[in-house]
Symmetry: C2
Subunit: 337 residues, 2 copies
Amino acid sequence: MIGKEQTERALEIFDEQKIDFLFLTNLQAKDPFFYYFTGASGFESSVAIIGKEPIIYTPGFEMERASKETWIKDIREFSTKNSLDNIKKIVGDKIVGVNGKFLPLRIQGKLQKAGIKTKDVSEALLDLRQYKTKDELDLIGKAVKATKQIIEKIDTSLPGNEIRAELLRQYAIEDMDEFYRAIVAYDADSAVPHYRGVSKPGKHCLLVDTGGSYEGYGADITRTFLLNPNKELQEIYRTVEEAQKVAIDLIEPGVRISDISKAANDIIEKAGYRMVHSLGHGIGLEVHERPNIMTGSGKVLEENMVFTIEPAIYVKEKYGVRIEDNILVTKKGCKIL
Amino acid sequence: MIGKEQTERALEIFDEQKIDFLFLTNLQAKDPFFYYFTGASGFESSVAIIGKEPIIYTPGFEMERASKETWIKDIREFSTKNSLDNIKKIVGDKIVGVNGKFLPLRIQGKLQKAGIKTKDVSEALLDLRQYKTKDELDLIGKAVKATKQIIEKIDTSLPGNEIRAELLRQYAIEDMDEFYRAIVAYDADSAVPHYRGVSKPGKHCLLVDTGGSYEGYGADITRTFLLNPNKELQEIYRTVEEAQKVAIDLIEPGVRISDISKAANDIIEKAGYRMVHSLGHGIGLEVHERPNIMTGSGKVLEENMVFTIEPAIYVKEKYGVRIEDNILVTKKGCKIL
């Protein structure tokens, strides 16, 4: 078991310092904005100052690799002592934007110590990522196409771990990465929206939710394969399919996101079920980006947004059906990627 | 290309706010301490307050999953409005430890606003993770054993992407995860310590650096397979092998880390080469943990530390040899996992 012994040890150590509590967060991964602005994904500690003349500071042994990955010309060796002082000289008294949803407390402390004035601009940054560039659309399009081809070829009689093994093998052959841990779930397991485990072959259905990524930009596709479905399951499948079609048919610039969500939910509710999660979410560098496609949204769709439409019905302990595709908002309508 | 257009767009948007710069960091992934103390790995936003009566706050739809994963009994629904106020009532005026190397600026702001007094205890937390519990050792041991079995069976004539595909397939079949992106590099590519790309089959050697993980705890193994080695490469291989043996022979509680590093470096330097990276690093929940096995270290080894010993020689544009094993410090000596 992980956690209990670790907690006891920590409380013992911190007792001497008169610290009785630890506060922890379970938030997002590596700041995606570093790659978003620099194009460099080196895994060792690096910082960047983005302005009219951007600079990357990275450890000596990563400089060669960074220079191959980034469009930024000015790459300097990182030094805890000098790099922030150097940035302070460059920015002077101007305000520096930071991603407050990611920037660790300790780094903020170091920026303050170096006299650098910061402002949390994370909301604006997240909004910016909604509008995909042509290069981003190319990568997402490629990822979706490859993912759909791979998912169509799976053997729906194998145990879950073997199906995931084959997905991973195919992604690696295409030099893609797995965008998020694939969900492979038969029968009752498919009724758990985020099932994780080794699902045994079933008799009703197989739900596969997976996506590969190219250069960080990924796909998020779900297919539910009917094996020997009973009448109830067939009806559910048709309802989910219809909900997805109705939602996609509405997508074009200017349409209210809440209207799209409501249209899909209405169909599912008329059939006597209820959607337990939102209808969809933006994708790109992360598997959950803006816009969130939900009934409570106050936003409208705009060109070059890319998101999932994934209506679903789950019948506890029996089966679940989810159909998920990735949609690009175009100038006058939309495109199923 | 990723980055340039994104930067231009951001600068345009922030210009109105008179923000001319963005400061970004490329630091670590999801805070490993959340899992370390709770045993729950749910990917959606959760927070935890660890004390004598720990509490997890998680979104409603993750509560069932969290209750299956964690040893903590008190799981409450997360609400941005109420959860922090609730924590404030529990902790009162006591100081709450936080992981300043991870805690995002925005969350720290919210803690302050709720009147919670915090202290950055990240150094002590990282030290704590050095000493593995029995359960952690079991998971790492299992991961190392499986990784070694998988790596021994690879076909050393295939292109790099196909070898990685097979590694991933095997990890998935064993219900493991890939602990870090595998490095598969032939000939000149093996001379790049962190090679990333699709390496074509070679004639001299194949370097494979990979590890699978069980429940988050992983292995980090490198093997260099000699194909048709010339005399120089054979000599290099023997030197690296000897450097590793000499280092491992010295490992026991109380030994200075710098002495181990020096012993291996001496052998490599006598042969006319130079180590470009440190001799090893701790492993566990992350692929780089404490202790760092380097000549500059002022620390001594202690029981239950687990780390890599990975001497290497790289000859630019020709080939590289790295041999990496995972070592556990035992009561009286050490064990190669």
